[in-house]
């Protein structure tokens, strides 16, 4: 459970989040909103990448301000541009990066890397330079890198924005199949239709908080 209490955040003089209070416990939560509405900042608060200027964010009782590292072990994060998320030059090495940071033994790292490679059909690319992968393969590698760390929840910040239609579907299927809780920031409304809950952001606040059948048409109406 992620508890957000009276959270506010500003970058300099620009206020991006205003007095948010929410509990996030559903398995699939979507976050939508116009550019600059505060979605990405909100997403970064959920695993302690950003600490709010005011208020608290707790993940299973852990405060992101005090227990940042423990929170990041519980909540993984997949960024919009996988090129900025893949840290090491070779596919298998990048998958192992987060696992080494967790201090796992070598054989456990090897087992988890193999598992992640198999899950996303990346095994033939094991020793491949990461920069030579296609956009879809890079995003799958980014997801696999986070998934290998076995977080309890994963936050996705616009994971399909830079992809073509085929790769969008591939990534959407990969997210659908995750056993973990997923919180997905996206503009791809069709992908969010079967989610459990949709948060519509507007000017740093949650303007609509409802089931997709209600929230998504309301959001479309709001945008037009």
């Amino acid at each position: 459970m992620i508890e957000i209490r009276q959270v506010g955040h500003a970058f300099g003089e620009r206020t991006v989040l205003r007095d948010l209070t929410l509990d996030l416990s559903e398995r699939r939560i979507a976050v939508v909103g116009a550019n600059g509405s505060g979605k990405s900042t909100f997403a970064r608060l959920l695993n302690g990448l950003l600490v709010p200027n005011s208020g608290t964010v707790r993940v299973d009782g852990l405060d992101t301000r005090r227990d940042g590292k423990a929170v990041r072990r519980k909540v993984g994060f997949v960024f919009q541009n996988p090129d900025n998320q893949i840290v090491l030059p070779v596919v298998a090495e990048d998958l192992a990066f987060g696992l080494k940071n967790l201090g796992l033994p070598k054989d456990e790292i090897g087992r988890r890397v193999d598992e992640a490679l198999d899950r996303y059909d990346l095994r033939p690319l094991r020793d491949h330079p990461a920069h030579l992968l296609s956009g879809g393969q890079k995003q799958l590698l980014a997801i696999a890198g986070v998934l290998a760390m076995a977080p309890e929840a994963i936050v996705f910040d616009e994971p399909t924005t830079l992809l073509d239609l085929r790769n969008k579907r591939r990534i959407a299927q990969a997210i659908d199949a995750l056993p973990q809780r997923a919180i997905v920031v996206s503009h791809d409304l069709a992908f969010l239709e079967h989610f459990d809950r949709v948060l519509v952001f507007e000017d740093g606040r949650v303007a609509i908080d409802d089931r997709p059948a209600v929230a998504l048409p309301a959001y479309v109406a709001m945008m037009s």
Binding site: N47, L50, V51, D83, Q85, V87, P89, G98, H131
Partner: protein, 219 residues
């Protein structure tokens, strides 16, 4: 950087630290004793090791191709100044060293190479430098050289479309801006994957991340 070629040859199995030391040793010997027979022997040894490691001839040539112009100029200067034997010595020595260095990267996974460098740089702790951070810096450099090259090519193409292909400012400003934005994202991505070189549990995100701007606003 030359990609790793998987294999199980004795060259592949040789520990990375030993490979680096042997490379340093070969370089020192070739420069301390500038003899043509030694340089040719090193070149022969490099060829033998490439064969042993099963590296395709195409990749051997790839090691030398970027150096071809420099090599040609150096040899011509040496031939003009000291005769053809000196030119041959310079060419053989440089080619041998480039091939041997290429062999290290072709037969060693970059993570193993970085780990070995980190161990070798452990003494830096005594002067207040964390070798793990140096290792990560090297890894990031290897990872992002091709990404930066792609960004530069993209910007060059965009500026050419606007007729600004000769403007240095039009090329460098967008590249630098994108690099700065990218560096914020990379720092956040590293934090998100529990990177902790100091082993300080419960720390807040790195200062770079904490100071980062609105994710949607370019610096």
């Amino acid at each position: 950087m030359t990609p790793y070629v998987p294999g199980d040859s004795p060259v592949h199995r040789c520990p990375p630290g030993r490979k680096i030391l042997l490379l340093v040793g070969a370089g020192s010997v070739l420069f301390a004793w500038p003899r043509l027979d030694l340089a040719l022997a090193a070149l022969g040894l490099a060829g033998l090791l490439y064969g042993m490691a099963g590296i395709p001839a195409r990749l051997v040539l790839d090691q030398l191709r970027p150096l071809a112009w420099i090599l040609a100029v150096l040899v011509l200067v040496q031939v003009a100044l000291d005769g053809w034997l000196a030119g041959l010595l310079v060419a053989a020595r440089l080619a041998a060293l480039v091939l041997l260095a290429g062999l290290v990267t072709l037969t060693t996974r970059s993570a193993d190479l970085i780990e070995a460098l980190q161990r070798g740089l452990a003494w830096l702790r005594f002067v207040g430098v964390n070798p793990a951070k140096v290792g990560l810096a090297i890894a990031l450099t290897l990872r992002f050289i091709p990404v930066l090259a792609a960004i530069a090519a993209e910007v060059r193409e965009a500026q050419r479309a606007r007729g600004l292909e000769r403007s240095l400012v039009a090329l460098t400003v967008p590249v630098v801006v994108r690099m700065l934005k990218m560096s914020d994202d990379i720092a956040a991505a590293i934090d998100a994957r529990s990177y902790d070189p100091d082993g300080t549990d419960g720390r807040p995100p790195s200062p770079r991340t904490r100071l980062s701007k609105d994710p949607h606003v370019d610096p």
